[in-house]
Structures are given as C-alpha cells and as structure tokens.
Amino acid sequence: MAAAESPSAALRRRDLCSRGIRLAGKMRADVVDLLDAYVEQQGLDASASVAAVEGVPLAAVERWDEQTGTQRLLENLAAYRAFRALLAQMLEEQREQLGEADAGLGRALAAVLLQVSAFAYHLEELLRLESRGIPGEEGDEEEEDGPPPPPRLSLFEQKLRGQAVLRELAQWAVRSVRDLRQLAKPSPATGAAPGLAESP
C-alpha cells in the first residue's frame, strides 16, 4: 500500500486536476468547432465513418475503471504528445495546400495545437507531482537519425486523416475529463486523495 500523500500534495494535485478538467473541457469545445469547420472546408462528409488511421491514438479503452492513476496519466500524455505532432503536421499541410486561402482555419488549428501542448505540459506536471519520471518523447531515442518520415499520403488521405485526428481528439478530451475526475476523487478511507498508484 503506498503511503498516503501529504495534505499539501493532495491539495496541489486536486487543483491541477480541476484546472486540467477545465482545460480539457475548453479544448473539446474548440476541437468540435474546428472539426465542423474543417469538414466543411475540406468538402468531407461529416457522417462518413472514417476508418482508424495509423498513428492516431484511440480514445476507446477496455476496462477503463481498472486503470491506475499512473496508467491514466501516462496514456493521456502519450496521446496528447501524438496529437501535438499530428496537429503540427496538419498545420504545415494546411499552409502548403491552402496558403492564405483560409487563414481562419489555420488560426483555429494553431489555437488547438497550443491547447494540446498546454494540456500535455499539465499532465507532465501531475506526473512530476508524484515524482514520476516523465517518459521521453517518442522521437528522443531516434534523435540521431530523427523520427521516421510519415508515409506520403495523397491529398484525400490527408483530409481523412485530419478528420480522424480531430474526431479522436474530441473523444480524448472527454476521456481526459473522466480520467482527471477519477484522479481527483478523495480516497474513501482517509478522505485524502490516494497516491496515483492506488487510484483505480
């Protein structure tokens, strides 16, 4: 049984969790708006089922309630790091394809990218709070020869991937709110928030 946290650490974590919940909620609203604008601007079918796209982290998880707090945070962090890279690529493709044609969408995309980066940093804060080592970024190990270049997609595949990225990001924001609420819950015995390892 891990030792219970000090009251100040629990307070700090609950504060981080509640701020994270607000951040995720705002991010979700912005992502949903962005997705609508993106689908319209790219001439896509909002109702079309988009197959899972390689490299886009799936929000759906089995036995969600059995996850420990650390697992929740680590999975969230990995996902938002992936979304950060995917959104950055989308932004670059957007500039390349449209230039100044739709600056509004570009700005909205950049704004969501900023929020995703902020949220990833927030998750790292939570992990630091528990003196958990922050996992290195996926590219760190391949620093010398750099991350493998993403496969060259056709324009239509780029559009579909963009739709999949935004859809899945909206789902992740919902999951993150649930995860953070789970982490913020006080432990039934001591009334203090449990250490990350314990919280189911």
Partner: protein, 490 residues
C-alpha cells in the same frame, strides 16, 4: 500446281505461293522463271510451295514442275498488275505513358530504306481500351518516305487517366506506290503494345487521377480501382453522385462534364466501396489572365515598385497558386514576387531593385500556375516615373510676423534629381494657397523653404508634398499638416 499468287512487301521482291493436289504435296518442285526481256531462265528446286523472286518490270513467265506421285507441269504468266503490294507489317519501337497528362507517346520506324524516295505513306493507329479491348479511336497519320529509315512519333491524350485500365496501341500502314501497277492494300496490324492499368496490378487501388489540377470547363473521367472481391457502392464528385461506368472487373469510372471552379481545398472525388473508402482531390481553376495596367515607378531610386491588375482569381491556392516573377531583360535579373491573393485581390505589387547606372528597364511580368501562364511587358525610364513618399517631420524652423521657415525630410536617393515641392497654406482669413518650390534633390535629406508676405498674428495650416521637377509623374501624398501662428507685428 494451281492458284499461283504473288505478293510484294517491298516493291523489289515478291513472294509467290501456289497450291498442289494432295498427292503431290510432299514431292520436290522445279521452279523456273524468266522475264520477257530475253534474260536466261532461272531455275531451282524447292520442297516449299513458296518462292521469293524479283518483281518484273512488266511481266514474268513461271514454270512449275512438280515431281513425285503427281507429276505435273504448269506455266503461268504474271503481270505486274497481278502482283499485290502489301507493305511489311510495321513494328512499334516504343510506347511511353505520361501519367500526369494521361498521354501515350508512340514511336515507330517507317522502314523507308526499303522503298523508293518520296512515296506517300499512311499510318492507321488504333487505340483500344478496357478488358474487352474496345476501340477508343483510330487515327490516320501521313508521312513521306525518304528512302531512309525514319522514326516517326505521335502522341495521344486519353480522356481518362492511363491508370484506370489498360490501353493498347497497334498500327498498320498503306503505301501509295503510284508507279506500281498491282493492287495495293494495308499491311497487317502490328503486334499490340500495352500500357497496363492499375486494375491489372495486384493490390492496385485508388481513385485516379490523383490530386490533379485542371481548367474550369474540363470534361473529366475519374476511376476507382479496387480489389476483385470488393463491391463498389457509389462514386461522388463533390457532393453529387454520378452514373458509374464499368471499365473492368476492378475498375469503375464516372464522367464529369464542364467542371466548375473548386473551392480552396479542392473537390473531393470519393469512391465508396463495401468495406473501404478511396478518394482523390481535383483542383479546378483558371489559367492566369494577362496582367493589365502594368505600371512601374520608384519612390526613392532604391526600389522600383510595379503594380498591375491580375484579372480574375485563379481559384488555386497554396502550392498551386498563381506565381508572379518580374524579369528585366537588360540586366537579366529576375525577381519572384510575393503576392497575397487574399489581401490585395485586385491590385498586385512587386518590388525590383534599382540597378546602378541603369535608367531604362525592360520588364517582363511572368504569371503562371499549373493550368497556364501569361505575360505582360513594360519599357520604362524610371527617371520619368518618380513618385516620392510623403514628406516627413514637417517642422517650423523659424518665423516672424510675415514669414515662416519650414523644414521636412524625404526618404530616398534623389541626388541626381531635381524635386518640385508644393506647400499648401491656409488660414481662417485666406483661401488655400499653393507655393511651388524647386529644390535640388539629395540622398535621404531634409529640405527647407520660406513663405513670405504673411499676415501678422495669424494662425496658418501648412502641409507639403513633392514630386520630380523634370518629367513630372505623380505628387507624393501630403505630409502631415502643421499649424503655426505668425508673431505680432513689431
């Protein structure tokens, strides 16, 4: 021996064949011929029922003696008019596809060395397509033989992407040998050359053409190549479904007529299969218009500012947008122009450096996008196109009851130019007056002027603008205004 027939493929030699009764089929044959200009008879033995002999000027007498079981002799007189002329079957040297433009490039040899100089040749080229090898088009191509082997080439642009299904090409020829008396006919068709479609490739799939740029008004064919066991549900262009044509078991297509301009992110062409979604994007836009009202001037003899009216927007953005470059013929210098189609859709601007010791500029404005290009040109003497910036830092440097001294600054290198500046002065007592002063220009300098005969104790509003004194072109904008009151009379 019977039914003697002779065919020539090259107007030099002819191939004669004949029939024999079944009993004499395996025996030896004595074949003799003589032309009627008293040359000695030529004979030889053969087991074949075909021989190649020279073409006679007018006629030839042939004697065929078959030995063995069915001993028989028969004599034939063959006139040139009895000999058929069927050119040698042509062979395709190369068939090269250019997928981005859906063009087939064909090369073949005309075997001209075999024929006399100057004969007219006709070539029929047949393009076939689909699994059923339907004839798509047949074209006749004309050439003149030059008694040398010439390589002929011809191109054909398909109405559908070459990836959609296999395209086959074959050719045949007809030589108009007017001097030859015998009947003339087309050669056999050459063996087909094929450019295989993606629907023949294992795992080949997708919508084609992929990410192409086409002019507004184009008639387009899009195809969806899929697995053999996959069933196509529908194909849409933009938001509209189209009737599907089958090209092969693995390839279906739609035809879109008179395509209209697409939006910035292109028009999606989506192929919905039972378990998959394939798609492509097409960008439908306009070739650039010829730039209108190209005009160039210099504000400061450091840079030349060219402006023009671009005409209607191309509808193409990002990497496909219309690009502009300014080329100056005398110096050979080329400048690419950064133009923001959205911020200034009606007037475009481009800067070109003033070059040392060069007054006359021979500009060509090149405009291009993936659909087309255009040009405008302008010959200009920049000393006659001076349009200074508005004077800055207008200040009063001195005044008394009847005069005011002014000073202002103009950015630019006007050392070799005389400036004409105009000072506007007005007050509540008097109408607006304009005072012109001509000043030798200098390099990024201040200039002064004095206004006299003013009324004492009077508030005046002043501002200044300048232009080139020699070869007036345009006034600068007015400087910011200034208020100054003359002192009271002594």
């Amino acid at each position: 021996p019977q039914n003697l027939k002779c065919v020539t493929h090259n107007l030099h030699k002819m191939l004669c064949t004949w029939d024999v009764s079944s009993r004499g089929r395996h025996g030896q044959t004595d074949f003799c011929y003589t032309t009627n200009d008293l040359t000695p008879q030529v004979c030889f033995k053969t087991k074949e029922r075909r021989v190649e002999i020279p073409i006679p000027e007018s006629s030839i007498t042939v004697t065929i003696k078959s030995s063995g079981a069915a001993f028989a002799t028969r004599e034939f007189v063959i006139h040139q008019k009895d000999i058929s002329f069927i050119p040698i079957t042509p062979h395709i040297l190369s068939l090269m596809p250019d997928f981005p433009t859906s063009t087939l490039n064909l090369k073949w040899s005309d075997n001209g060395s075999v024929f006399p100089y100057g004969l007219d040749a006709l070539w029929q080229i047949q393009i076939l397509r689909k699994e059923a090898m339907e004839v798509v088009t047949q074209v006749t191509y004309y050439s003149k033989l030059t008694h040398e082997d010439a390589i002929l080439s011809w191109s054909w642009t398909s109405d559908m992407p070459l990836e959609c299904t296999s395209h086959y090409v074959k050719i045949r020829c007809y030589i108009n040998a007017t001097q030859f008396a015998g009947p003339k006919d087309w050669s056999d068709w050459s063996p087909e050359k094929v450019i295989p479609g993606k629907d023949t490739e294992p795992g080949g799939s997708g919508v084609f053409p992929l990410d192409r740029v086409v002019p507004v008004g184009s008639d387009l064919v899009f195809c969806c190549v899929h697995g053999e066991d996959e069933h196509i549900k529908n194909m849409t262009y933009g938001s509209k479904s189209y009737t599907i044509m089958q090209l092969s078991r693995r390839s279906h297509a739609i035809r879109v007529l008179n395509a209209s301009v697409s939006n910035a992110s292109g028009t999606n062409v989506v192929c919905t299969l039972e378990n998959a979604l394939e798609g492509s994007v097409v960008f439908v836009g306009y070739a650039p218009d010829i730039p209108q009202n190209l005009s160039c001037e210099t504000p400061n003899f450091l840079v030349i500012k060219c402006t023009w009216k671009p005409g209607k927007p191309s509808g193409l953005y990002g990497g496909r947008r219309t690009k502009y470059s300014l080329f100056e013929r005398t110096s050979g210098k080329n400048v690419s122009c950064e133009v923001n189609e959205r911020e200034s859709p009606r007037d475009h601007v481009c800067g070109f450096p003033v070059l040392p010791d060069q007054k006359i500029y021979d500009f060509i404005l090149d405009v291009s996008n993936p659909i087309g290009q255009a040009q405008s040109s302008l010959l200009v003497d920049i000393t006659q196109r001076v349009h200074p910036k508005a004077p800055e830092k207008l200040t009063v440097t001195g005044n008394n009851s009847t005069s005011i001294q002014l000073r202002w600054f103009i950015n630019g290198s006007f050392a070799e130019t005389r400036l004409l500046c105009q000072i506007e002065i007005s007050s509540s007592h008097s109408e607006r007056k304009l005072h012109n002063v001509s000043i030798p220009g200098r390099k990024s300098s201040t200039y002064t002027a004095q206004l006299n005969a003013l009324r004492p104790d009077t508030k005046y509003q002043l501002r200044v603008r300048c232009s080139a004194a020699d070869h007036f072109w345009r006034w600068s904008d007015w400087s910011r205004g200034l208020e100054q009151t003359t002192s009271e009379a002594p």
